[in-house]
Symmetry: C2
Subunit: 178 residues, 2 copies
């Protein structure tokens, strides 16, 4: 499954840390890129540094307007899944979404324009209580991939974690490819 993430509606400065978290979650949970329409430059630098240390080729793409992006992604064969507490319970539709070849997950910061609901193939609720679009994105990507994202490799990593029940074990380090 090819997964991309579209984040809309973030406000500069106020949402910068949440936007960075959304990008890191997209990367760690198997998406190949995140698209967003306005972003502080240090978010791209953070992601670039994370790719350099921990591998993979996750991309941050700056867009101009979500309407054009949604139309193009639909032409490219993506099913659009908009995450909203008002949507259908994820447990009821995750199986259908898991069978899609390409999924664009749409997450808003705050109130989302009505047109996003109308353009989506799926309006998906990760619980019907208010919480966090970062958390919703993570649980959604975990469920539609059945956890397979944690078994994916990140090519070209300089550092790699050896799982441990007691502390930190890392192989590699700056300048030492593993």
């Amino acid at each position: 499954m090819l997964v991309e993430v579209l984040r809309i509606g973030q406000r500069l400065v106020r949402d910068d840390r949440t936007t960075t978290h959304a990008a890191l979650v997209a990367r760690a949970f198997g998406a190949s890129r995140i698209l967003m329409d306005d972003v502080a430059p240090d978010i791209r630098e953070t992601i670039s540094a994370v790719n350099g240390t921990w591998g993979g080729s996750f991309e941050v793409e700056i867009i101009e307007g979500w309407r054009r992006v949604l139309a193009q992604k639909r032409r490219d064969g993506f099913a659009v899944a908009h995450l909203t507490m008002y949507g259908e319970p994820v447990e009821e539709i995750q199986g259908r979404i898991a069978s899609e070849e390409r999924v664009l997950a749409v997450v808003g910061a705050g109130k989302v324009p009505r047109g996003v609901y109308d353009s989506a193939d799926y309006n998906v609720a990760v619980g019907s209580q208010p919480h966090s679009e970062v958390a919703a994105l993570a649980v959604f990507l975990d469920r539609i991939q059945g956890g397979a994202q944690f078994r994916a490799g990140f090519a070209g990593a300089r550092s790699r974690i050896i799982p441990s029940g007691t502390g930190k074990r890392v192989v590699g380090g700056p300048g030492r490819p593993t």
Copy 2:
């Protein structure tokens, strides 16, 4: 299962939005309280307002020092699960944790003191890539409860969402209990 969340190491202002998200995720994913050692007053107000509208009795508890809290929770029968990218893969230990009667999930903002690793019954990795403690908390609580948290009721809600594939449907509203 009784679940509580301990958040440590947050920095005032810089982490306020992330801390609010962590509290909202804890509430929406079935925890009964979040404990934290320093917090902007508006976080408690936000949670109180969310309880008022969407129900339940989720609590924010201000603590003085994580060591004392960990010791007390252990005496109270809680298994301590510290979420860290360096830990054991969640998919390998979620079954054991799911069989615990009381779980204290510990999430740090940034670097966590060595003592937390040593005090934990489980050091749990939600993926071994850097992402977001808010996302890690959500996926962890989802997995150890097998999604049951989304079927839990929130007593006393003034508003309740009717799941919809196409838009927003809400019953109730301010002053009209449902």
